[in-house]
């Protein structure tokens, strides 16, 4: 199984542990990731707020390189995925747009190389069955709420899962031996950049999600987006202080949880980089496993 790999800018900065864990997990699962050489930024929100063509041309260049290689593109970041998918669909839908974009990027992109969310690749291409057979440190008794965020499974027409009540990450957690906890905030918006630019709007959104996770009885949150991660993890103490709450809710990239279950070293997965201590819970998990083994 081989995919082109598009890490995107966040994964080389704030979300570096997402990149590390993705690569390590892919390797243990026997998935070959070919990082797109000289990839460029997908444009994120800045491009599509500026100019429609620009917003399509930026991702198209990366997709075109993958197409030349005959590979679909696996994309961890939910926002990059959304931009790339939108480009793929628009190019497929309109020959005219395909021509314009090809002229702009000076490369051919026909929509043949598909933008695929990394979660989708793991769950639907590799399959839960294959993943669960490779698990050697099951996330036993770990109660996880899956947080998909507002982009990963949307818009409904393009998504690989139900846009309102997605299940793939929950099923993945189950395959890893953990306990998926159902909750109603799977696809609520975390406020994205509002936490930085307009905290009076952003903070209440984060608060709602953290509170709901806590009330659902979760030990931790699994996510698939570097921006969600910084809002829920980096901002957690700040938001808690504002609302007089102490959540102490570790937040993981789902790839990190996969790495742990596959028996990889948590430190090497980058888990020590989190703001809210996440190593503690992993350690507890391992200790409990140790006790079970000796008993």
């Amino acid at each position: 199984m081989k995919y082109a790999y598009y890490p995107g800018c966040s994964l080389s900065s704030t979300g570096v542990e997402y990149d590390i864990s993705t690569k390590k997990v892919a390797e243990s699962l026997g998935i070959e990731l070919w990082e797109i050489p000289e990839w460029n930024c997908c444009g994120a929100s800045s491009a599509h707020l500026t100019d429609h063509l620009l917003a399509l041309a930026l991702p198209a260049r990366n997709l075109a390189i993958a197409e030349e290689k005959g590979l679909d593109v696996a994309i961890p970041c939910a926002a990059c995925y959304a931009r790339c998918k939108a480009t793929e669909v628009e190019v497929k839908d309109s020959k005219e747009m395909q021509k314009t974009i090809s002229e702009v990027i000076e490369r051919q992109y026909t929509g043949k190389a598909q933008a695929r969310a990394l979660l989708d690749v793991f769950v639907n291409d590799l399959g839960l069955q294959s993943i669960s057979t490779l698990v050697n440190k099951p996330l036993k008794d770990l109660k996880v709420v899956s947080y998909y965020g507002c982009l990963l499974v949307r818009p409904p027409r393009l998504g690989f899962d139900d846009a309102e009540d997605p299940q793939s990450m929950d099923k993945l957690i189950e395959a890893l031996g953990g306990t998926p906890v159902d909750w109603a905030f799977k696809t609520e918006c975390c406020g994205a950049a509002h936490a930085t630019t307009k905290s009076e709007v952003g903070f209440p959104m984060i608060e709602k999600i953290l509170t709901a996770a806590k009330e659902a009885g979760a030990d931790c949150i699994a996510t698939a987006c570097p921006l969600c991660m910084s809002n829920l993890d980096m901002r957690q103490t700040q938001v808690g202080a504002k609302y007089g709450k102490n959540y102490s809710l570790p937040v993981f990239y789902f790839t990190e949880l996969m790495g742990i279950a596959l028996g990889l070293n948590p430190e090497e997965l980058g888990i020590s980089k989190h703001f809210v201590d996440a190593l503690g819970i992993v350690k507890k998990l391992n200790e409990a496993a140790g006790r079970r083994d000796t008993a």
Partner: protein, 660 residues
């Protein structure tokens, strides 16, 4: 020599304003075969028709062209006219110079006149090739079949029976009654559904002309209008209907409980059961899927306790074939599967229910004896949220159409919440409130103004459980504000959809259905109860979402059509049907799957070739089934099939007249 008469109509000024009718009539005189040509203000009116009849006699005309409106409009009129003038009705041709000419080219009289002349020229060329056709007759079996015993089927059956005809009602379920039996009170008058339905159920059951065949399904349909041969599968009831007195002892003693479909699984029934207390026939059936005896060979309690020995485990399905003159499809509707709306949590949260669940919660013989209680814990809900258009008017996840009944039944539900629960709140999320219908808008106004239901214009984005509450997030689009409601129960106004097996039944009987599997009427305005298949009529929600008054009206209309048919001994058949030229038919069978009415099959004929008898296959058109659509003539590679009155030669004559 053929002598054609041409009659050009002005249609008041409808045609003459854009076409020079006198000139067209004048031009026509030079066309080959035309012996007489004239124009008149209103050809279809009495003097116009007299003009034609007189000319036939005086000018010795033997075929007629009328240049006027669409044949859809007046072909029958002029056919009758020339028939009474002594000509065969099919020696008429119409040139449509109104819809096809004056109406579409109102501004260029000169060219419109040229076009009208051309149209007449074509019609003359065709009529020269026309042949006299004779209508034959088929006998009519004086017995009707109604498929489905909901309110629509019941009403249709009663009307047909009261007119003196025999009618069989085939109902799939153990009892007739349909959805109306599940409904508690009916809008807009809030009279109790059972009180108005059960008398009708009893009437239909006791009517000497009605034969109820419950727990049965249609297996096969052959034949055509006047003579449908229908095979019915009477499912094994495991209870002898003649012996059973309906005492119910077996039901009481049966140890097996399963969720009751009728009560929307909010209550149990037994393995031997009647779906509801007023069921008709009020005699039980054994659900063999859940019965212990059928699953493990043990039990048999019902048989032991039955005082009349009516329980019969050895019963088998029975197939009966009966001949009918007409069929009414009245198979009703199903509910959309709300679980596709993950955001509402239907199927996940016990207190998110459909309107039909709510009807049962309102009903005195329902799971809560008519007290509105939550399915989860039996508590009386204080805040009830209603969401309209769930699965309706939503192309992304549901159906594009409006389900038509839900605005009204939601208003009814909201009223009843406010009436039955003290200090309660009824919140209704809506996109629009659609209440056309007699007394309907007044009812809705009372719901808000008198009963104080709170209507919020906007959609719900999410429902989630918090403790024992359901938190409902939505938007009030009039105030432009998000809304959050702590609800105790949420009721979804679920879309009405076609029955799961609707398409299968339509294919079996041979009529058409739309993209949503609702049955298609022959004309949306002018033939709303007919289908494209002669002798098959529609009633009720199987044709599209409908409430009870509309279903009943349509049922009575369908009954009139059936009675019209059954009141005759025989009926004329349209002679415009396909004919096989046996000499050149190669028997390839290409035409067989092409025919939408399954009118063609292959038959074997014997021929003498060079002194030897050989047999070969050829196509055979069933004149009762053929509707003259002509599809087969296009499929036939050896041109052996020809549609009478539209033969290849006739069409080519028209083309030649225009182009040569």
């Amino acid at each position: 020599m053929k002598r054609v008469g041409v009659f050009v109509c002005h249609c008041g000024t409808n045609i003459s304003a854009a076409v020079d009718c006198e000139k067209v009539a004048e031009n026509a005189k030079s066309f080959p075969g035309v012996a007489y040509s004239t124009d008149y203000k209103y050809m279809c009116a009495e003097p116009g028709q007299e003009l034609i009849k007189k000319a036939i006699k005086e000018q010795k005309l033997d075929r007629i062209v009328v240049a006027s409106c669409s044949p859809r409009m007046h072909e029958p009129t002029f056919r009758r006219c020339i028939e009474s003038g002594g000509l065969n009705a099919y020696l008429l041709e119409m040139a449509n110079i109104r819809e096809h000419c004056s109406w579409v080219h109102p501004d260029d009289k000169e060219r419109a006149t040229i076009k009208a002349t051309d149209l007449v020229k074509m019609a003359v060329a065709k009529v020269m090739q026309n042949e006299a056709l004779v209508r034959s007759t088929i006998p009519i079996t004086k017995r009707a079949l109604v498929i489905g015993g909901g309110i629509a089927g019941i009403q249709a059956a009663l009307d047909i029976a009261n007119a003196g005809h025999i009618v069989d009602v085939v109902e799939k379920e153990p009892s007739i009654g349909g959805r109306m039996a599940q409904v508690d009170k009916t809008f807009p008058t809030l009279d109790c559904s059972a009180c108005i339905l059960t008398p009708k159920m009893v009437d239909v059951a006791n009517h000497p002309n009605v034969n109820l065949i419950t727990y049965s399904e249609i297996e096969k349909v052959e034949g055509y209008v006047g003579n449908f041969d229908v095979t019915i599968r009477k499912k094994a009831r495991s209870v002898d209907l003649k012996a059973c007195t309906g005492c119910g002892t077996c039901i009481q003693k049966c140890p097996t409980k399963v969720p009751s479909e009728f009560e929307m699984e909010m209550m149990d029934r037994k393995a031997i059961f009647t779906p509801f207390p007023q069921a008709i026939p009020n005699k039980p059936v054994i659900d063999r899927e859940s019965c212990r005896y059928f699953k493990s060979g043990k039990c048999g309690v019902c048989q032991k306790v039955c005082p009349t020995n009516a329980v019969d485990f050895t019963q088998e399905d029975e197939l009966v074939t009966e001949r009918y003159g007409a069929i009414v499809a009245a198979t009703g509707f199903d509910l959309f599967d709300d679980s596709v709306y993950g955001e509402y949590g239907y199927g996940k949260y016990k207190d998110v229910i459909t309107g039909l669940h709510f009807e049962r919660l309102l009903n005195a013989s329902g799971p809560t004896m008519g007290k509105i209680k939550r399915p989860s814990d039996g508590k009386i809900p204080q805040n009830v949220v209603f969401i309209k258009c769930v699965g309706s008017r939503d192309e992304a996840k549901g159906k594009a159409y409006c389900s038509k009944t839900c605005c009204m039944y939601t208003a009814k539900h909201a009223t009843l919440v406010r009436e039955k629960i003290k200090d309660s709140n009824a919140y209704v999320f809506y996109m629009d409130v659609r209440t056309p219908g007699k007394g309907y808008d007044e009812f809705y106004t009372r719901t808000t103004d008198q009963y104080g239901a709170k209507y919020i214009r906007g959609r719900v984005s999410k429902i989630y459980e918090k403790g024992d509450k359901l938190i409902v997030w939505g938007e009030d689009t009039l105030l432009g504000r998000p809304v959050e409601i702590e609800a105790d129960m949420v009721v979804l106004a679920t879309a009405m959809v076609a029955k799961a097996d609707a398409a299968k039944l339509a294919q079996m009987v041979g009529f058409s259905y739309d993209q949503n599997n609702f049955y298609t009427e022959a004309h949306p305005k002018l033939a709303p109860v007919e289908t494209h298949t002669a002798g098959v009529f529609l009633a009720g929600a199987c044709q599209g979402p409908k409430d009870i008054p509309e279903s009943v009206a349509q049922a009575s209309a369908a009954a009139v059509k059936v009675c019209g048919l059954l009141s005759k001994e025989e009926m004329p058949t349209e002679p415009i049907i396909s004919a096989v030229n046996e000499a050149i038919c190669s028997g390839c069978g290409m035409c067989v799957p092409v025919c939408p009415y399954t009118a063609i099959d292959l038959k074997v004929i014997q021929e003498r070739v060079h002194g030897k008898t050989v047999s070969r296959k050829i196509a055979n058109v069933n004149s009762g089934l053929c509707q003259g659509c002509g599809a087969c003539t296009v499929a036939c590679r050896s041109a052996a099939l020809n549609l009478k009155h539209f033969t290849n030669e006739q069409i080519l004559a028209e083309v030649d007249a225009l182009c040569l």
